[in-house]
């Protein structure tokens, strides 16, 4: 048995060897330009990267620590900053499960079944990507605001949505709506329906097939979608800014940054901003790891 598997493994090793040498050949062809041109092109690319990505990143931390560690600590532990962090976490904690649930359900329906109106649903899912976040915020103000369609009805019951936490959650959920679904649709479509069919023929119910076959198969793709969703949920500014109307104590971290900056408290603004930046960097690292896993899962799944 072991013999036969090693025989099988051998051609695969050869194959990757071949593709690697092909890559090498491609690299050689790509750098056939004169040395001078090469240097100029590389320098341009590096300068661009530095100017637009690395310098701003460095500036955030430099500004945050400009007045020293004590001021930094004080800035991020001030009651306003802590409240903002708490609110941002709360919003993410409500938004993520909602959008995950919706995303999995929508992707499952779209990738595994044929039904009328499927293309309409796919287009609708993309809507939040197409619409400016400010417009998204305005939609909710127009719906739930004092002069809004449902305004009076809500006022009569003393339910506050706009200028309050529910509004922020709604706006964030709307803006981050497509992330999980989009990621999973592509992932599930690539995997097809054969494994689910196999599970059904083997006696599994739809529910069992979903939990034992579908979910494990999309695990990494799902995580990838959730990470992107989280990053956006924590960083969203436009839509949230509109629904809070700058009047509430309800500030999320991005809003808090803007507020502090507007009050010329640069060190404090950058200190709070550095938290968001850190979240961003951590997201990128996790995203990269998950991406690799997701890719290998997709490859293994096609076996």
């Amino acid at each position: 048995m072991n013999d036969s598997t090693s025989i099988v493994a051998a051609p695969r090793a050869l194959e990757s060897e071949k593709s690697r040498s092909q890559n090498r050949a491609a690299v050689r062809r790509a750098t056939n330009e004169p040395v001078g041109v090469q240097i100029v092109l590389i320098a341009l690319a590096l300068a661009f990267l530095g100017l637009f990505l690395l310098v701003p990143l460095a500036v955030v931390f430099a500004e945050a620590f400009r007045k020293g560690w004590e001021v930094y600590r004080a800035s991020i532990t001030s009651p306003e900053a802590l409240a903002a962090i708490k609110l941002t976490l709360l919003v993410a904690a409500i938004t993520l499960p909602l959008n995950t649930l919706f995303g999995v359900a929508a992707a499952w329906a779209i990738a595994k079944f044929r039904f009328k109106g499927k293309s309409v649903l796919i287009t609708l899912i993309d809507l939040p990507f197409a619409v400016s976040p400010v417009i998204a915020g305005l939609i909710f103000v127009l719906l739930f605001g004092r002069q809004g369609v449902l305004g009076e009805w809500l006022m009569a019951r003393d339910w506050k949505i706009i200028f309050a936490v529910p509004g922020i959650v709604l706006a964030t959920a709307f803006v981050t709506f497509p992330f999980v679904a989009r990621e999973l649709i592509a992932f599930m479509e690539a995997q097809g329906t054969e494994e689910e069919e196999a599970a059904m023929v083997l006696g599994a119910s739809g529910w069992q097939a979903f939990w034992r076959v579908t979910i494990p198969n999309i695990k990494w793709g799902l995580l990838y979608g959730i990470i992107l969703c989280n990053a956006r949920a924590m960083g969203e500014f436009g839509a949230v800014s509109v629904v809070t109307g700058h009047v509430a104590r309800t500030n999320t971290v991005p809003l808090q940054v803007e507020l502090l900056y507007g009050e010329y408290q640069f060190a404090a603004a950058f200190a709070v901003a550095s938290i968001l930046t850190l979240v961003g960097i951590v997201t990128l690292v996790i995203k990269r790891i998950v991406e690799v896993r997701a890719h290998s899962q997709l490859k293994a799944g096609s076996g």
Partner: protein
Amino acid sequence: MKITIRDITKRYGAFTALQNVSLEVPQGKLVALLGPSGSGKTTLLRVIAGLEAPDSGSVLYEQDDVTQRAAKERNVGFVFQHYALFGHMTIFENIAFGLRVRKWKNDAVRERVTELLRLIQLEGLEKRLPSQLSGGQRQRVALARALAASPQMLLLDEPFGALDAKVRADLRRWIRQLHDEIHMTSVFVTHDQEEAFEVADHVVVMNKGRIEQEGAPDEVFAHPANAFVTDFLGHVNVFHGRIQNGRAHIGTVEMPMSFDVPAPEDHAEEGAEVTAYIRPHEVDIDRVSHGSDSMFAIVTRVNRSGSTVKIALVAQEGQLPLDVELPHERDAELGLVVNDRVWVYPRQVRVFRREEAALDKETAA
């Protein structure tokens, strides 16, 4: 378990995958559904398994109408063309899946899976993932998984399709042996006539959502019912001609080098256009004419590398190429070389009306 299919029709939009198909699969037999792609054979298999619902007609297991029953309630073993193993589960868990959803006790599961691993000769690999196995090994795991819960029948969709020739031949023999041991009613889909004839007890030839012919492999091969079946069952020489004086006259009238064969009995109208099919191994070659049954031809190529000698010729002044296969002994007697002038006479010719043949050709393309 006997399977009865009654008048099944299945459409996908404008495309008719199955049209009034009726079929009986006897208890304990191994049946091949044979046909080109798009002939409906896989759809029929999926209808039997409950993976597709037919638009009309019914499926019976013995006397039990299961048409409305979901796949999970039918207790059938199904082997998918691309294995469809669960990529995140070990080989052990793959095989155990059907038992786990049936809530078997752990000990019983272990015992049954071990037994099946022995059957598919993959003991020791139960902790691997499917991606770590070769194609042939994966196919055997797929088979073990399908057999685990002792299904009432085994359905296989192009079970050897994705494998290379050597593994394919081995697995083919193995499946036949396995079937002889367990005698489970089995249906498999294939587009390879050789495979169907080698493995199956009963062959069902399908085309355009209909059954063209069914029967024992020998019988279907010896007596193809129509032009499609004749054409589909391997390499044949195709000739055109017309009915004259109650006989099919093959070749053009102006050409003296032509031959006559009996006309098809059911439509022998004078002047009707016909197509004749002659298999390469059902032709003999001689250096002298045998009268109106033989045709003059020139040898263009001789290939002695196989189990038979393959000879390419042209008849009718270079207009009609044809292939002949002779046993090596006959070839030695004749001592043929290229450019030899010879007479060709078919031992068996199958003649069908042209319209019908042309129609089939057209849709097969």
